[in-house]
């Protein structure tokens, strides 16, 4: 990946894609309802089946988006995990920025008044 200095932004490149392969494979499987149900029934067994490493397993357990990204997760696959948790992109935006969901939505709306 070309060097960049963009704050607060992880560019999902080959390094991240290799690191996060197992985690993203699991999240990709959540396209199917049967797999979402299997995860919900037995989270440990489902994570073990995809061979998540300790860092990835912990980030899933904590439902922590920044840690999932650091563990190689890609936001498009992670969104399918967020779907199981019934979290939308404002919810995960608020979590990552340390804001309340209302404050996060206000920030989005404020961008329109610039």
């Amino acid at each position: 990946m070309q060097h960049h200095d963009i704050p607060g932004t992880v560019v999902f490149d080959g390094t991240q894609a290799q690191k996060g392969y197992a985690l993203n494979a699991m999240c990709y499987s959540f396209n199917a309802a049967a797999n979402r149900d299997a995860f919900t029934r037995d989270e440990d067994a489902y994570c073990a089946k995809f061979g998540l490493n300790e860092e990835q397993r912990a980030a899933i357990r904590e439902r922590n988006v920044l840690k999932l990204l650091a563990a190689g997760g890609n936001v498009y696959y992670l969104a399918k995990f967020a779907g199981i948790l019934k979290l939308n992109v404002q919810d995960i935006g608020a979590q990552q920025t340390g804001m309340t969901v209302d404050a996060f939505k206000d920030m989005l709306a404020a961008a329109g008044r610039q």
Partner: protein, 288 residues
């Protein structure tokens, strides 16, 4: 001969699909966004397209990291809509035009674009949301055939803006050399500025978006000077979907005029936008 009569660029935010399914078009949150589509839908109706070429990006439905094509072209009789994992309603399948697809594939490869061809392809919200937006009365019976072109915006390295512009040019040449009399409208979907991930989540850049909306009409080759990193910086990590718009604009080989545009912040985490362009073929102008 087939003719590209124009193009539509539109956001493809999943929340739009949910709002349509829940008939929320007149809610105060949604009205300013959906009002911007009336003119676009009216233009599309009078354009009477036979085929829609859909330039979009897959977000992890058809493609995974095991095999990630930079450019992929559909070559199927039908394209499936499927469960994406977070509740967007599944649409009825979209008809394809395999003859046209293979013509485009032959032409692109001859033109040195070594694309991946897909005889089995599920299409996600990057494709389905623009279809439900622009054909609101379809009721599951799509009035056009479709040709999906998917650009990788998931895993870097992504193709550069210059490369996507050239891909668009090559698609334009491919379509306009097809011997059947078809009216074609090209869609470019996604954007505008947004970022879903990282501590910069929620980033929106109105100034850059407005520059893009104007420049893509008048001086589209200006984007060829930008790098993908420039796009990430200015449009956000997922705002790189503007690559689909650049490729769309590249397909218009004639004289291009703007019919309509709309811009509204925010829709979900994103700056929602649409743009309608008409393409007058050079050949026609000479004949007249």
């Amino acid at each position: 001969m087939a003719q590209i009569v124009g193009a539509i660029a539109t956001s493809h935010i999943p929340a739009i699909g949910k709002a349509i399914a829940e008939k929320k078009q007149n809610d105060p949150y949604w009205k300013p966004f959906f009002d911007g589509y009336d003119k676009a839908i009216a233009w599309l109706r009078q354009a009477r397209p036979d085929v829609v070429v859909m330039i979009y990006n897959d977000h992890g439905l058809n493609f995974f990291l095991d095999k990630m094509p930079t450019f992929a072209v559909g070559a199927a009789a039908q394209y499936r809509s499927e469960d994406e994992g977070w509740g967007l309603p599944v649409q009825s399948s979209f008809p394809g035009d395999a003859d046209l697809s293979w013509h485009v594939i032959e032409s692109l490869v001859a033109d040195e674009f070594d694309i991946v061809s897909c005889q089995d392809m599920a299409v996600d919200h990057g494709f389905t949301v623009p279809m439900t937006l622009m054909f609101p009365d379809a009721g599951g019976k799509w009035p056009v055939k479709t040709l999906p072109v998917s650009i990788n915006t998931v895993q870097h390295p992504l193709p550069s803006p210059a490369r996507c512009w050239k891909l668009g040019r090559a698609i334009g040449r491919a379509i306009e050399s097809y011997p059947k009399d078809l009216r074609v409208v090209v869609f470019g979907t996604g954007g505008l500025s947004h970022q879903l991930d990282g501590t910069r989540a929620g980033f929106i850049n109105k100034k850059f978006d407005l520059y893009c909306l104007e420049t893509i009409v008048k001086d589209p080759e200006a984007f060829s000077k930008l790098s993908v990193v420039d796009l990430v910086r200015e449009a956000g990590a997922q705002g790189v979907e503007f690559l689909n718009w650049i490729a769309m604009r590249g397909t218009l080989l004639g004289s291009v005029s703007k019919i309509h545009s709309n811009y509204h912040i925010p829709i979900s985490n994103t700056a929602g936008a649409t743009l309608v362009l008409e393409n007058r073929a050079a050949v026609q102008t000479q004949a007249a």
